[in-house]
Symmetry: C2
Subunit: 405 residues, 2 copies
């Protein structure tokens, strides 16, 4: 019986981390790489920009030729060519000459600056300038963003929209990333029925965990499939064994029937190894984990809030790190607006509503009260060495948004 010996949260988390595994590497089109994790360093194949580039529509000139030009003392230059975007000029800009140039076009030889169109007038090939430009002005120098051959992104970088742009500019139209972990969610519980608007049979309960756990898996960058298993040792055993062949991670919810005791853990013990069962946490004390066929098995409670918190405590980091992405709780400090009792030796994840200054825990704390998670946007975490907090104390808070992939 687990209650006789509870692991500490940190110890249980360490047992999970010790069984860390990376997914395989796959090469995918860059267009599909948003929010994936690089499995290779990105070395630039090109300079970017690939040439000294005009940053404005205007005239490529020798900056020194414009010195002294002003509204009251305009200067005259001679237009000798024009360069549109995607084009270039073979001509060289000589003394007091100018070449029409588009934003993005290569600065022609001889020129070192661009004077903006709006500070000029033209009459045929006669250009009148009403302002001066310093050498280098309105020019984006070759390779100012990326230098050919340079490592511009490290393996294990998370690919946001801006990294996509940089990777493209470096010449990649495909990229090597870590595969998304495939998670099998095994829902146990003879009492569970699908959501329905019709009257539900006595003693039956709607299965909500399948929705929340699948979404939590997606919020961790992974993909999930769900199956249901009856509450018997043989059914659970068959489900876990089969899943351990085709999936990277297994998650179970429930284990409530007296007929089966802790049937899920019994199965894990039979066909694999239990890492822990029973952790000094609230909610979620019956949390367990094990390894079957080399695959991590997380055994979550049937109680909805307990299952969500157990996911956050154990599975999220595991799924992130499988994909080569570091994960740790981002703890921020807030002033508690209420007194919070806790118990020495137990870590509490208390649902709370927090803003940039304050945290206020949600009052209804039952581990079956989904609405408490809906009202919350954060956890107040109370360490096992703390006995709780007074109103006004500074507490550790993790915003839910900071947990997302």
């Amino acid at each position: 019986m687990f209650l006789s010996k509870l692991d500490s949260l940190s110890n249980a988390q360490k047992l999970v981390s010790d069984n860390h595994k990376l997914t395989e590497v796959e090469e995918i089109p860059l267009f599909e790489a948003h929010k994936r994790v690089l499995a290779e360093d990105i070395i630039a194949f090109h300079d970017s920009p690939p040439f000294d580039k005009s940053a404005m529509d205007g005239f490529a000139v020798i900056g020194e030729n414009t010195f002294g030009a002003s509204q009251s003392a305009p200067k005259q230059l001679k237009i000798v060519d024009a360069i549109g975007a995607g084009d270039f000029s073979d001509k060289t800009v000589g003394e007091n000459e100018a070449i029409v140039i588009a934003t993005g076009a290569p600065i022609p030889d001889g020129a070192n600056a661009v004077i903006m169109k709006e500070y000029t007038t033209t009459d045929g090939d006669e250009l009148t300038i009403y302002s001066q430009v310093t050498p280098g002005e309105n020019v984006s120098p070759k390779s100012e963003d990326i230098e050919k051959g340079q490592k511009i992104l490290n393996k294990n970088t998370f690919i946001r929209y801006q990294e996509l742009g940089l990777i493209a500019s470096a010449g990649y139209d495909t990229v090597k990333v870590f595969k998304k972990p495939k998670v099998k969610i095994i829902i146990t519980g003879n009492e569970l029925v699908e959501p329905t608007k019709e009257e539900i049979d006595k003693a039956k309960i709607i299965n909500s965990n399948q929705f929340t756990i699948k979404a939590l898996v997606e919020d961790s960058g992974a993909v999930a499939e769900i199956i249901h298993a009856g509450d018997t040792f043989d059914e659970v055993k068959e489900a876990i064994l089969k899943a351990s062949e085709d999936y990277d991670v297994i998650m179970t919810t429930g284990g409530t029937a007296i007929s089966k005791g802790d049937v899920v853990l019994d199965v894990v013990d039979d066909i694999g190894e239990i890492l822990f069962h029973g952790v000094a946490i609230r909610p979620g004390k019956p949390a367990g984990a094990g390894v079957v066929n080399g695959k991590m098995v997380f055994t979550f409670s049937g109680q909805p809030v307990a299952a969500m918190s157990q996911f956050d405590m154990f599975a999220r980091k595991y799924l992130f790190e499988m994909q080569g992405r570091a994960f740790d709780f981002h703890i921020v400090h807030r002033e508690s607006q209420l007194k919070i009792p806790s118990q020495l030796g137990r870590t509490d994840f208390i649902r709370a509503v927090s803003d940039d200054e304050y945290a206020k825990h949600v009052l209804n704390r039952g581990s079956g009260i989904i609405r408490s998670m809906v009202e919350a946007n954060s956890y107040i975490i109370i360490d096992e060495n703390d006995e709780g907090y007074q109103k006004g104390d500074i507490v550790d808070v993790v915003m839910f948004d900071s947990l997302l992939w």
Copy 2:
């Protein structure tokens, strides 16, 4: 020429908001509703739990019968039935009687508490209890989470994993949500080529905006398709007209060829209405927007960083609000680690690296330097009424993570 008259950022943003539109409503399976926005109130079809439910494996008892029981003074009760998960008992618990009960099972008539298995021993139908329980202990009362007929979620709620659980428990297996906006991204620029590791023709530049803008659209809950248009009035006109029939929003990038001037805006002016063109912001001054065929058209710069910032300033809020989801920049305050010059009358979005205390702007600020966005995790926003900040000043910061859908 836009430079002669720039809109303020707030005015330009207001012109976009004034053209706010909602997408249509669609009914989808609850399994697909993660990260969508409710287009209906959720009224519970059931109580949850639907009955007084045991929160533990143990024995349903009359709490008063257990008073005084302890390790040194155990009490005896008689077991009269057993209830597994999904089952119920027709029996009533009488004085000094007990019924075996599983977590999740309905409390039988007569009983008002559950004593945990671990505080008991059994011998046949003789139960010995070594602890007392108060009435209500280990019982989750009927409807403690959800009351039948109650409105449990409002229209316009963003559906996180926890809302999914609540909606399921309320009896919904489908849900009405706002459709994802369909965005057409029209890339203009004769100089652009696809990413390649091979040598690139002179004057050509890799098209990176298609990747970043598409990902930004996805980060705003919408979906995007991309087409490329040549730099001529007719090609851009055809592309925008066609897109205005089949898509909810149009975004263009580029407009750099002298041959075309501001061809995109010329087209919008010809077939629709320009809302603004030219905004007192940095980066992204040439930003524009208009309406064609009732559809919003955002005209972004070809410069990668300018385009990303313009998206954040104008398009993100528009896409969120099309789906019924409120959006405003979540401003936090940080101490600037560097001096930041700015210019009165212009709003600056300065790429920065910020933590929970400090903000430090990325030094290379050219609007073509994608790497500056890659190094950054936040913007420092300098209002048009500020001339910049000294080192140590408190500045307004928006974390990139807080911008995500």
